[in-house]
């Protein structure tokens, strides 16, 4: 490709730009259309989550975790409560475990739908985005049915849940899954296997596995690079060891392993796997059980610390909790997967054109709330 060189120019993509997925600024040096250097500038959404936590009780932290990754709040709750339960040594009832898995996987689907839909927007396809939002709305309906909130749930509590499942939830969920599965193929035909889309994403922004590990990239991004790494399989928490599902990894089907298309494809396949998990969980869901049974009267952690990771839709979500034995945590550190994913951007996006940078950024599926915390 012959490139006519122009002036070196500095572009500020963001903080207000249609495709920065939040309030992110990309300091981009361009040479003509080609990006020679790129530096993400973050912090616009910094809300001192960790400082807040030091002033809150353990229960009050949960709504704050909601707001970190607001696309997948359930999973953020999940990570925190799993960490706290291990810290406190609480065994939660079976029913609670199943409900949690169902919610987390539903939310994973919802999150991936957003990731894929907005990625379509990034490369210029508007319609798939609305189709995917339509299905996401139905998942949010299910959440609303369960806990009254559509986005920030505060649903999972340490030792239990805020509410039991409503009557008719299981049927509604089955209905949703039955409707959703055929839609998946349609989305893929419409976008993923579209030649223009393939041209835009295949071989673009290749993230080799070594680089990904070096940068601590996890989740679908790492799996897109061909590394079979999923905490649900590799370090099963909760009851994930009871389900039968596969971990899709990128194979370089359309270009090379670890390109944008592979990341997209991994997310698309993960939705199908999540559907599989939800179906199994709904099947095995214990009919009886009090979701408040194991709730401690007052959460007061012993002295010490814990680091626990769970698999959020974006990757390894880790909580490092230190307790000095008082009623509030001494320190809560959240290791957010999007933070590491964004840090790799300057490594893989330099040398591509502006359009590709947008595509690469979109394929990393970042949520600024989680990066800036």
């Amino acid at each position: 490709m012959g490139i006519v060189h122009g002036e070196e120019m500095v572009l500020n993509i963001g903080p207000q730009h249609p495709s920065t997925h939040g309030v992110l600024r990309l300091h981009v040096q361009t040479d003509g259309e080609v990006v020679s250097h790129i530096e993400p500038v973050i912090g616009y959404l910094h809300r001192c989550f960790e400082k807040h936590c030091e002033h809150l009780t353990y229960e009050q932290v949960i709504p704050y975790t909601d707001r970190c990754d607001y696309i997948a709040s359930m999973n953020n709750n999940f990570g925190y409560v799993v960490a706290m339960e291990e810290f406190l040594g609480i065994q939660v009832p079976e029913r609670v475990e199943y409900i949690r898995v169902i919610m987390a996987e539903l939310n994973r689907i919802a999150s991936h739908l957003i990731a894929l839909g907005t990625y379509g927007l990034d490369v210029g396809a508007f319609t798939p985005f609305l189709y995917m939002f339509r299905d996401r709305e139905r998942i949010l309906d299910l959440f609303e049915l369960t806990c009254g909130a559509r986005l920030l749930y505060n649903y999972m509590w340490v030792g239990g849940l805020s509410h039991d499942l409503p009557v008719g939830f299981v049927d509604a969920c089955y209905r949703f899954l039955d409707d959703f599965e055929p839609n998946l193929k349609e989305y893929h035909d419409l976008l993923m296997y579209n030649k223009i889309f393939i041209e835009r994403t295949a071989d673009v922004g290749v993230l080799p596995a070594e680089v990904a590990i070096q940068y601590g990239v996890t989740g679908p991004n790492l799996r897109g690079s061909g590394v079979q790494w999923d905490l649900r399989k590799n370090e099963p928490y909760s009851i994930y060891d009871r389900f039968d599902f596969d971990i899709p990894v990128g194979t370089g089907q359309m270009g090379s392993v670890g390109d944008c298309w592979d990341r997209y494809w991994v997310r698309a396949q993960e939705m199908a796997e999540s559907v599989k998990i939800i179906r199994q969980a709904l099947q095995d869901l214990p009919a009886e059980g009090n979701v408040h049974e194991a709730l401690p009267r007052k959460v007061r952690a012993p002295k010490g610390s814990i680091y626990k990771r769970t698999e959020s839709p974006r990757g390894d979500l880790g909580y490092y909790i230190i307790s000095d034995g008082k009623g509030t945590p001494f320190r809560v550190k959240m290791r957010s997967p999007a933070f590491t994913a964004l840090s790799v951007l300057s490594e893989i996006a330099s040398g591509w054109m502006i359009s590709d940078v947008i595509a690469i950024l979109g394929s990393l599926d970042i949520v600024l709330g989680e990066i800036d915390r």
């Binding site: 012959g2 006519v4 060189h5 122009g6 002036e7 120019m9």
Partner: protein, 162 residues
């Protein structure tokens, strides 16, 4: 009424040509050039050369002027609005130019041109095509080679690392 439009086009042509020459802003010069070229295309219509008028617009405006604008943008700080340029030897040059125009006009007006009255042709394109394929075949071929050469040359030249 044709007179009115003719006069308008004349004034447009000459006026904007003045603009091209006198404007201190390069982009403005280019915009004025746009109107000059448009005006000349209009004059071509009056001269029964409709095909040439089309060529004038397609090539001069759609091609050369776009090139010139690209050139201006590539050779100036890309986002600086004030692209001004200065001139030299305006006084002498102006006088000489005036003299030149005066002489040329005087010659044009004074010479008893041999005029042959003719009818407006029904179609010009066909005749030009026939001319090109018969009497002007060699220049036509040469022109195509020239264009090819210019194409390659321009591409080669504008690569930075040659």
């Amino acid at each position: 009424m044709t007179e009115v439009s003719f006069l308008f086009i004349l004034l447009l042509t000459v006026g904007s040509a003045l603009g091209v020459v006198l404007s201190r802003n390069l982009i403005y010069s280019a915009v004025f050039l746009l109107f000059t070229l448009l005006g000349i295309a209009g004059l071509y219509v009056f001269l029964w050369a409709d095909f040439l008028a089309g060529v004038q617009i397609a090539i001069y405006i759609g091609g050369i002027l776009v090139l010139i604008l690209f050139g201006i943008m590539l050779t100036h700080k890309i986002v600086s609005v004030n692209i001004s340029h200065s001139s030299l030897q305006r006084g002498v040059g102006g006088l000489l130019t005036l003299a030149l125009i005066a002489f040329l006009s005087w010659i044009a007006l004074r010479t008893p041109w041999r005029m042959v009255s003719s009818q407006e042709p029904l179609q010009t394109v066909g005749r030009i095509g026939q001319e090109l394929m018969t009497n002007f075949l060699l220049p036509f071929e040469v022109a195509s080679v020239l264009l090819l050469g210019a194409l390659i040359g321009a591409a080669l030249l504008s690569r930075r690392d040659t």
